[in-house]
Point group: C2
Chain length 337, copies 2
Amino acid sequence: MKSATVIDVARQAGVSVATVSRVLNGRVTVDGKLRERVNAAVAALGYRPNRLARNLRMNSTNVLAVVIPDIQNPFFVSAARGAEEAAFQAGYTLLLCNTDDDPEREKSYFQVLSDEAVAGIIVCSTDECLGAIPVRAALDEGIAVVALDRRVEGAPVDAVLSDNFGGGRLGVSYLVELGHRRIGLIAGPDRFAPGRERRLGYEQALLDRGLAVERELIKATDFKIESADAATEALLRLDERPTALFISSGYSAIGALRAIYRCGLRIPDDISVIVFDDLDWTSAYNPPLTAVAQNTRQLGKIASELLLRRIRGDDEPPQERRLSTRLEIRSSCRPPQ
Amino acid sequence: MKSATVIDVARQAGVSVATVSRVLNGRVTVDGKLRERVNAAVAALGYRPNRLARNLRMNSTNVLAVVIPDIQNPFFVSAARGAEEAAFQAGYTLLLCNTDDDPEREKSYFQVLSDEAVAGIIVCSTDECLGAIPVRAALDEGIAVVALDRRVEGAPVDAVLSDNFGGGRLGVSYLVELGHRRIGLIAGPDRFAPGRERRLGYEQALLDRGLAVERELIKATDFKIESADAATEALLRLDERPTALFISSGYSAIGALRAIYRCGLRIPDDISVIVFDDLDWTSAYNPPLTAVAQNTRQLGKIASELLLRRIRGDDEPPQERRLSTRLEIRSSCRPPQ
DNA sequence: TTGTAAGCGTTATCAT
DNA sequence: ATGATAACGCTTACAA
């Protein structure tokens, strides 16, 4: 049995298709009686609008996309989830696109998304500068875009990020106050806001107390498990080992913890540890890890909301939203011996 | 500048739109010369087919959906990722739908997906029996469906699951051989294949050695962190505490580990632990956790492949695929004191 | 093999 | 306020 169309509804209700469309979309005023008849006909026929036809006509769909570098990273998943909730409530579904931090895949996804005519894209770009190219292309095609966690420089889009600087400073201050003077930093890539800003926060916390920033204590990584592992091992091999570690990405902390275990060091007896981002397992670790928690879910939710606003035609100048972080004190830190 | 359509291409190439469509879709044979001219015109105009128009015409899209109970659970994410890779390669994009184990949300998503006319759905249903209702409805509308991790009873769909029974037996056998006699089981819901089969595997491993299955050592959970926490605490409070724990879901192991830590027990000195499913952090835990590893990524990949086969019209009777598990021996088990 | 033309089900313009 | 009708861009009978 073929499903009913506007034409069937119109016939059944004794009105024109235009009227049917009007009551369905509820934009303009329609006479109460006709409206009733249309609604009755819709119910009687079990009419459901054909989205595909509408999509063609409107040249746009009810789907949003989240383009993230790593779907294995719970941070992004959590943000995606927040985004999904808001999207679903607004009647949108969410396409999940994993770039693996590969600019080619990112470009290719933007291509597909524009073909697919998604209504909007939430993107954590593989490159804060080059990312602007596909973003601008999308914007040109009328696709709304919001940046998440990382900025997109050179494209007029809203951005929602954590207060990385504040978070870094918060965590490191805590270590400093505990008495640590040699604090290792497992940093992220400096070309992205999160890595750079957290490092800056780390440095600020040191400066706040008049402590020197020592280059050898800062190891850059790509926020992947393997590189955090290597970076941590390098730090632990230093002649004068750090007494505390600030790991600036919760996901890659897995690598750091592996290295610590491998070196036979115990937390917090031999070394104190703080991770940035409070993942599910951090509180279950042995010992439970002190963490700088981000509002990951909220990050995604707000990104969705900003996106939906743009889709609805909001024309304000781009804004940048910063979400606060907080320190979850658990058992992985203590004063140095 | 509006983008080119088949009409523009046809004009440019001096052929009809039908011919353009034919070379674009490459179904029927088209004269070499015309084909060349069309391709040249496509290139010259930078023509890109309008998916929305095609969707309407074909009444179907290039998108697949994955409907999972919990997007926070890395197991599902990993499977989704495997699915995405296969889908992307085949030119499909992947919609991610999170049901939160709520049958209402599941129904509602199936509704949306059918409105959206996705080509296929990979589903881990919230109910192995009731799930059949929306699934059959989707099938009726020509949407292909494949079951993942959990079955769908009463609907003719392919299913891809881990060898849960074998995995449970494998892990528990290892514990038994180490000399454990009181092995606690943090079980899953019995109404789903994974929970039930892993429990059966646990029981079989005991029976293999002529050991009795003691009900008090088996605690059912819903595979969520909180309930695993409570179940574990209950087990640890038993008069005669188990000397080992088989935690039948990696994600909820977080709860179990919290409980163990809270009770002041040490792994493996006070209690041995095996988890089912080898997540990123299990190998970084202190101590590294022995785990029964599933081929999670492969699970999703195969689901996608089966789905694509169905979409392409494969008409074989439904098949059930089982993926093997393996034991990753690390440092969380030792003989009982 | 190629071309013509009829839809697919909407929305929106333009009369009325 | 309502109705007739023309798009939207594509695929595919059907005809040649």
